[in-house]
Amino acid sequence: MNTTDPSAWAERLARAGITPAPAADPGPGTAAPAAPWAVRLLAGVGGFIGGVMILLLFAVGMASLKFFDTPEAATFLGLVLAVGAVLVYRLGAGGVAIEQCALAISIAAQITLAIGIGPLFKSGGHLTWWPLVAVQATMLVLVRNRLHRTLVCAAMVILGALSLRQVAAVAVWSAAAALAATAWAIAAPRLAPRGAADGAAAPVFGALAGLLIVQWPWTFVAWKANAGAAHLAWHWAAALPALVLAAGWLAAHAGVTARIAVFALALAAGLLGLWLPAWTTALCLAVLGIGTARPGWAIVAALAMIVSVGFFYYSLRVTLIEKAVWMAGAGAACLVLAALVRGVGGRLVRQEEGS
């Protein structure tokens, strides 16, 4: 399956009984070839800059009318821009330059809304950002663009976590945010089944890894800091469902149905998840990113690992030598798991192939 001919792919789908026999036109893959990526990038940059210039033109007009003077006006303007962004996206779907122009309008809409909503809901405290999250969620559903979905999703997760942080204890908000993020990652493909679901899932997993890094970099540090079994148990109880849900997503949407993958994920979630949850989440992301050829996911995973070690280094409650021993132990656990996956996993794969 290394051919680059879409008609061969269409034929393969037809042979498997998934689609009817391919007609003369086997699908959009054989339509006029798309412009090379560099030209599309140039068109995208131009569209974005053009969008910014149009917005500046718009802003000059609004400034002369003193339209930004009140939070209500800014909120109204933000909503108008959001509607405009959705319309431009939907009318110009497929055009790289127009989509980037719409992205510039969407970013301006969200910033303008934030400027308006901030003073409007100041007394509400934690409720401040929920109206913006609601607008973003609406845009997420209406705009079927991968880059837009990625950015909006990331912004929603961050705003949601910030809002939760104001009302709940750290363990509660981070656990709730992690669970909500994972639930979203699972639900996203069902909410947006017509492609572009990856755009939603990637930042959610990234944010999940980030939340785990902030809250549970290393259980050793948490234990030293609080020295309370109940506190630690609460962290574990909150972390485990997120990891199990992440494994569920892998099984449901990345097709990790082979017994070896389930076995390895169970090992990682069960053992390493308790020991170093942030690192384990990043490992899952790395495996998925490499296995399904999504380099962005692997990069997020690598960054998560680096940041996790950095956080650990600067946790001053524990001496460096204690941390070194803990890490060496974690490294040994990883190597033992690797050996288990090679040995026991190999047998499982052979059994699977035999059956």
């Binding site: 689609t19 140039l42 097709g255 890490m327």
Partner: protein, 344 residues
Amino acid sequence: MPSTPIGASTFAARRNWLDSLVAGGRLPGAQLQRARRALALIPDGALWQRLIATVLAGSGIALWAAALVFTVAFNWDALGHFSRFALVETCIALCVAATLWRGVDHAAGEALLIAACLGVGALLALFGQTYQTGADPWSLFFVWALLLLPWLLAARRAAAWILWIVVANLALGLYCEQVLGHARWMRLLRHFDASALLALALNGALLVAFERLRWLGGAGLQRAVPRLLALLTLTAAAAVLVAWIVTPAGRSDGIVAGAAGALAAAVALAAMVRVYLLRRDLVILSAAALATISVGYAILTRMLELGDAFGFFTLSAGYWIGMITGAVVLLRGIGVDGTAKGEP
């Protein structure tokens, strides 16, 4: 299903094609998972097993390496000067030995070579810290780049060259900031950014070397080094021209030097467009188009009256949309394969 490694580019092409089928309503969403399996977009058990085992092993080694760094950091004050040097040099020697053992053609060997290159930088930093050789980081980066050259000429790996280009440009940037910024003759060059002109000279010379001596780049990332150098050269040329254009009028000193620098940048830009037009390298041509349009915009802003903001932004929006549209149409006419002439 065979458990052969999956080519990332065809993998992504198949995935995007399948996504476009679903988006176009030609494939029901419920069938997507089956279709992914049929097109080998989902790795089989053996491939997952190898991948997971490799990632876990890599994670274990990374954690051990981090533990080693933590241990050294814990004992750093207790170590003498020679122990510190011995430690860093041992790490470099081990990396080099492992590179020789694996061979630079192997991914691990290439990664170890880069680790050894980074280790040389760490050694120089340690030297500077230990003997207080002065606050001249530009010389550190310069010596670092110089010391790496023999290894890079012997190994000829694209990834290592990219690291070297970054180090060399950092050395140049720091030199401009720390030395040239105080030099008397710099007054002659204040009509344009002298740093950008030097960066243009450095990266342009390297670009010519890599394009003429193809063996220099060796194996690895296809055309990554010449393209990186071309992008750096284009950026520097555009920076020189933009700086010259936006310099306030009425200055009498350094006009000749400024004009000469701008002329050199314009010639470099035109030469690159000519060369890469013949090669149909759309990546570099797209970057050249963006650079040229940026220079044109600098001329436009110089000519326009900034007091009339409404007119200025109207013209700006029209300029960018029009110029980019024209560039895209022209580039699409040149070729649609996106590969350079002679590129595999």
